[in-house]
Symmetry: C2
Subunit: 886 residues, 2 copies
């Protein structure tokens, strides 16, 4: 028997079903499924995706066997409908649509009314008694066909339509008469012939073959190809072609067409909702030229309340629609988006698909449908994209507001921000004190901007990537941020921002959306996020399902509390150095750095000890016994140096040295590649007393807490390890100091010591290092930088080109690069367990809150992920989905 | 039967042999071997290294079983010699020496005359008729034993000796009488008792147990432990103890002692060479107080020609010595260093070992001994340390010159340099033009210093490591260089160098040795290297033995020619960017960088094209068909920016823009971590036209050569790859340009395209990348930097501390880190072959000329190594040794 290339669907016979998407595409599979449900679907057939591949193998010609199967299916439709393709007496018309396995922009969409020609148009006019309808259908067909099949640029024929309307003095297409449209058809054909050398095909079969080939060819058009490369869709999937007999909602007043949702796509409320138009085609409902009418009372609003509902106008059809939507939602177990047409009072359904919805609606529908017994908890959990939860937690731009887009940067930290522009942190703080909402606009931020960032309602930078300082700190603070918006020219001295030929100055309003990266002129109103009760229930299911623990990156008691409210189960990364920038501390930090002798350094460290102890005390208290992974000092010392004149002077005074000496020392501490420089454990190798002070602060704070009845679980993390001996030496020195504290206080607490794996060598040597470590934490930001040899702060100059040219599968700073960085992580996890079977591992890089990366962490057997507080719910859901998929 | 802990040796019986070094130590094994050869060795016994371990397991007490075996061996020696340990009538005395498997500084050395006490000293005086000898032996014994066994600080007893000499008004020990020495013994014992509470042991057995325990304990003294950690000597080897009956060269004029070499240790000449003294102890010959006498005419020189030779003074003993040395050299198949003593006309041999020698001598001896049929070529090749060849190729400091050491930096590029200090490259060039030898002194060098470096006789920097710019370029040029000499304070503005409280200025003389890192004040004469005919023969054997090819890193026709003379088999790395700094080119380079449009950039590139083509033409011509691996532009563009005011002005003029604009652009090109920034293949992703120009230059030069009948073999190398897609895109663009050149010229040449593996991710993804690459070249400098997360330019601040604390097994920039970086290399080689079975791999990092790294490259199956021209012979020998060891 010949291979089956063509699958029929009709109320009587159907070859496919909804699970055959790989073969029939999404559209074809759903049409088949609805037919199997005996729903009134206009009959037709689907040419399979395999046929598409065969087409390419056959030199872009439709193979003979497929042609004959299509011809056979066509006859079958003729028999079912009693009409005949190309027969002027009773013409059968088709719609031709592409349909890939997944919805995919860039391919050919739809050709309607295929089969119309100079002769059948007359038959249609006669049969329907509606010549205007017939000629309108013909001219629409020529337009669509010329564009998508013949490759004539869009707009060329439409211009003729506009000319005609002008000549007739009318504004709407509907005001053109049958005669006008007939003339227009002639004009169209003439333009095609004289200007493009194209004779519009009159043979319906020729039209059909052209359309089928055009669908197949569109699979490899540049836009579609690009889309697949960007989204990792294999080229060898191919697309199906759906060829379906036409029904018409625009034959007269007993005809209608409409679109409906089985629930409210905005809120998820369980109400049947939709719009329709009498005597119209589907595209008229969505085109926005005419206001569509409500299908029922639940769908009325201020704009459409004067119109008659479908329920009132065509009660029988409405009843059938209701029965249909209930059947479909129940059958698909998901909220549906349904297209229907009523031709001469007869109800047809043309399409159903899972409806697009807001995340609030997605969550609500999932929870409701679980309670309705329609879906399981697992299905409910897999229904929501983890990243979408972002929208629930942050303020958003008012979707109804008008906006003037200035530029688009990186969506570095979600949430909308609107406020007065300021260009320095100092001003941000001052304006904020004066009660003003400000947006801090900087070329890039540095650790010295912490105060200004905290005071601002949002941060906007022209340089830096998704893991630049601005991005990381903003996410940590839960502040909206757009980073690396390279279209902006920022002059921090002149306090101006220029873009698109406009120049703005300090105090001008600006707005941006940190979830999309879009920057808008002026003030755009924002609306606050509202957390529903469905959210809490949904997240509790996620917690039941997941294996991975979710911790947070938090440096202060405040951040810790926020994260715990979002469900964090401890701290995965507490960056002790972020505590060093407070004004009352930075001077002591600088004294430490400038110390020329051990005694001087110790003197400065003694000043810092009480601050650090207080920080840790507050964090332990907030955690109530949950684990706190505290990373000892990591960044290069020069990050803490004074840069501004008054800071230099202040430090010189305190130290009793000249300003010149301060500048010399600054210069001495300069590094060519600070990322690869004197930092992390290397600081402890040269200056052991820094970590000694820090572990003392941790242990003293812990003892204090436990004396007050608060449990503690401290994990002391040594950063930037590359070698067992190095790590072991510093671990030993830490333990010695801890033992001294125990002796002094006469009390002991439990603690763990482990290390961060953020260098390729640390991952390679994991087995050895594990013999002395109680835990590992992957610092995937730095691990990505070193594995790729890619500085995140400098990558802005070429990474966009990489993305544009599709050279990296994704931005490795956003999603873990599984092939490269992931190879090292997997190696480290399995080798680590060989070195120490009790070792446990987590991740504390920015990737810890990114769903695909969380799934990877689950797969390779990490014990927990850690992310910024606002991403904790995302990580919880991603972890649950990973477990459910596994 | 009890375990054997003690091994006897005597002319009659001997338990050991030379292959038992692990058990008996080097000294003990050779004593046993000589006894087996029936040579006149004073009898004794060796307590094994196992006994040392047993001692530690027994709580640092000598186990009973070992005590009884020593006692038994002692009786055996008494029987053989007819003397008795501790018997005043005929006392037997012993020497006690440590002896580990390998010569190891830091441990206890020697105690002589053990067994002397208040009673036996009288017996010795009587028996020898020489009381002065007896009392001198006793006081020497107390001195040594107090110091090494009792732990009394060296110098304390010696001070008493000095006091006595002063009191007697004499300058030499030999002028003290027996009476004086007897008094001194009493003073010694008194000082020990009253000042240190130590009663000097009179019981010979107590003396013996103390000495044996002291040798065992010295195995774990801090200096020895440190030495083992630094040199990867296992702690569980332990040391043996050699207890040997004493013979005396200082009993009278029929006694003598001496040291000799079987060949000349300076030149390797085949002449028997040695020195001796009549009526003396071994230490007198080497202490330099008395001028030693020549053993034969061949050993005479201006200082010793007036003395009688041993040959003349004691012909019988001399004849025996000659027979002995010939026997030993023949037996050990290597040049020996022999100690002998003549007691009462009787010849004894106390030690033989392979002689220390200069590298010139080592090479000469190896070649001669091979021709004499004593050793095989393989043995000859393994006899010379590859690194030592350095001394043969570069000028050296005159070993006889007096020197004042100022500081020690890193031995960055071997060879001695002496000249006037200059502090800028400009001055270096000017002074050099004036015919003056200059040393360029800089805090650090940058690519702009190339001219100055070329003009200088040597380069000295205060910052940077073994692979800093200065070090790499100097090695490439074959110039001596000391880098990272952090003790120096260099003020480039004031043109001064300060160290150890002294300040030097421009024009002062300075000298350094690039092979040791030592920097000396003033002018120290240097001597030129002389290459012997033995060298050429020796290297030809190396070439027969090795599997690895040896190429060179060379950027100019001149370097290429030098390297070919040293035996290079092609170029492994031609850095195209080094060609960009010449004054007539740098301006065009800057125009290219400042181009704001593609057209401007192309215009600048057109100017560079002829220069590059000329470079490549010259290199191809020099290579005569040998392969040339040419790396396309690698460093970040900002390395080429103008920094000095006049350069900024010049560029602004050429570009027709303001100086401010030039500075702005400079600023824009600044990178936080240039090492991880916009460089290598990333430049080609954003500016494809740069590599297009470079491949055009390569191919045009190749076509020109081949037209002139010169074969070419170009390998085009794309640097900094991290991903197949990125590499494949640039490769495709290169090939397209090459095809255009072929078309234009109507000629084709062969070429290969491959990539550098210098990022961890490239190594991880090697299998994929190999599918499109014809070769791999490991850039181990950058691979080490990224694997460790360690910037070589910044590591100077902490790497010395790492070395000091023994945290890294070795400097990973000097020797390949096999566990970490090597893991990635091995992975890449084996995965690469899976991706492309025909791929071949080499190394072009600095490690390519370092013997241990070369051995590793051999082991993991690379096809070639590449190194700077002057290291080519070293790499050839290292490659031969690797093959011979494998």
């Amino acid at each position: 028997m010949a291979h089956k290339w063509v699958y029929k669907f009709s109320a009587s016979t159907t070859d496919g079903n909804k699970d055959m998407k790989p073969l029939l595409g999404g559209k074809g599979a759903n049409l088949a499924e609805m037919c199997a449900l005996k729903l009134p679907v206009p009959p037709g057939f689907t040419v399979s995706t395999e046929a598409c591949l065969a087409f390419y193998q056959n030199d872009k010609k439709i193979p003979v066997e497929i042609i004959s199967q299509i011809e056979e299916a066509l006859k079958w439709v003729e028999n079912l409908t009693g009409k005949k393709f190309g027969d002027p007496a009773n013409p059968l018309l088709f719609s031709v649509r592409s349909g890939a396995r997944a919805s995919m922009p860039g391919m050919m969409d739809t050709v309607l009314n295929l089969g119309t020609n100079d002769k059948t148009v007359l038959g249609m006019a006669k049969l329907t008694g509606n010549p205007r309808f017939a000629w309108d259908a013909y001219r629409r067909f020529i337009q669509m066909y010329s564009n998508v099949v013949l490759g004539v640029k869009g707009g060329i024929l439409e211009a003729q339509l506009e000319d005609l309307k002008e000549a007739r003095g009318v504004h709407e297409d509907t005001k053109l008469t049958a005669q006008d449209l007939q003339e227009l058809v002639e004009v169209y054909k003439d333009v095609l012939l004289t200007e493009h050398g194209l004779k519009f095909p009159q043979d319906p079969m020729e039209q059909l073959w052209g359309a089928v080939a055009a669908v197949f060819n569109s699979w490899y058009n540049p836009r579609a190809q690009k889309y697949r490369e960007m989204n990792n869709v294999p080229h060898d999937w191919g697309t199906a072609v759906n060829i379906q007999s036409m029904v018409f909602g625009n034959l007269g007043d007993d005809c209608a067409t409409g679109v409906c949702f089985t629930r409210d796509p905005s809120t998820g409320d369980k109400k049947f909702f939709g719009e329709y138009l009498i005597n119209a085609q589907g595209e008229d409902v969505v085109a926005g030229i005419r206001t569509p009418w409500p299908i029922n009372v639940a769908s009325t609003n201020d704009q459409n309340k004067q119109f008659k509902t479908l329920e009132a106008a065509m009660p029988a059809a409405y009843t059938e629609l209701v029965k249909t939507y209930q059947l479909l939602e129940h059958h698909y177990k998901d909220m549906q988006d349904i297209e229907f047409t009523i031709e001469g009072g007869r109800f047809f359904i043309l399409q159903t698909r899972n409806a697009k919805r807001t995340v609030a609606a997605a969550l609500r529908v999932a929870v409701d449908q679980m309670h309705e017994g329609l879906i399981s908890k697992k299905e409910a959990l897999l229904r929501v994209q983890p990243d979408d939860l972002n929208h629930l937690l942050h303020p958003r731009l008012d979707p109804k507001a008008k906006k003037i887009l200035l530029a688009t940067g990186l969506p570095a930290s979600p949430g909308a921000a609107s406020g007065f522009m300021v260009f320095t942190s100092k001003e941000a703080e001052e304006w904020a004190k004066g009660g003003k909402k400000v947006v801090l606009v900087r070329t890039e931020t540095s650790p010295e901007d912490i105060g200004g960032m905290a005071a601002a309602t949002g941060i906007l930078t022209a340089r830096g990537g998704m893991t630049s300082h601005a991005a990381v700190v903003a996410r940590g603070m839960g502040k909206p941020c757009v980073a690396g918006c390279s279209a902006l020219t920022i002059d921090e001295k002149m306090k101006t921002l220029s873009v698109k030929g406009k120049t703005f100055k300090e105090g001008d309003h600006i707005t941006f959306d940190g979830a999309t990266g879009e920057v808008y002129e002026g003030e755009v109103p924002t609306v606050e996020a509202q957390i529903s009760s469905a959210f809490a229930e949904f997240m509790s299911w996620a917690d039941e399902a997941r294996r991975l623990k979710v911790r947070t990156n938090a440096d202060t008691p405040h951040d810790t509390k926020v994260a715990l409210e979002f469900g964090a189960e401890g701290i995965g990364l507490c960056r002790t150095e972020h505590m060093f920038f407070a004004p009352e501390r930075i001077l002591a930090v600088r004294e430490m750095i400038f110390a020329e002798t051990l005694d001087e350094r110790k003197k400065a460290l003694v000043k810092l000890l009480p601050f650090q102890r207080e920080d840790f005390y507050g964090i332990f208290k907030a955690l109530k016994g949950l684990p706190a992974n505290i990373r000892l000092l990591d960044p290069p010392l020069h990050e803490f140096l004074p840069h501004q004149e008054h800071e230099v002077k202040e430090l010189a005074d305190v130290l009793g040295v000249s300003e010149k000496r301060v500048l010399e020392r600054n210069n001495h501490l300069h590094e060519f590649n600070p990322m690869l420089g004197h930092r992390g454990v290397r600081l402890a190798v040269t200056y052991p007393e820094i970590y000694q002070m820090q572990v003392r602060a941790i242990i003293e704070a812990g003892i204090q807490c436990e004396a007050e009845g608060i449990q503690t679980s401290a994990e002391i993390m040594i950063p930037l390890t590359s070698e067992l001996k190095e790590y072991a030496l510093i671990k030993k020195e830490c333990i010695e100091e801890i033992e001294r504290v125990f002796q002094e206080k006469g009390k002991k607490i439990k603690y763990k010591i482990g290390t961060m794996l953020e260098l390729p060598r640390a991952c390679i040597m994991a087995r050895e290092i594990a013999t002395q470590a109680e835990f590992f934490s992957f610092g995937t930001n730095d691990l990505t930088q070193t594995t790729f040899g890619l500085s995140r702060d400098d990558a802005g100059k070429f990474l966009p080109t990489y993305t544009m040219k599709g050279l990296y599968p994704q931005d490795p700073f956003v999603t873990i690069d599984q092939a490269g960085v992931g190879f090292l992580m997997k190696h480290a996890v399995s080798e680590g367990k060989l070195g120490n079977p009790k070792i446990y591992s987590g991740i504390c890089g920015e990737h810890g809150g990114e769903p695909r990366s969380v799934e990877f962490c689950h797969q390779i057997g990490l014990e927990y992920v850690s992310c910024s507080p606002f991403r904790v719910p995302i990580a919880r859901l991603a972890a649950a989905q990973a477990a459910l998929k596994g």
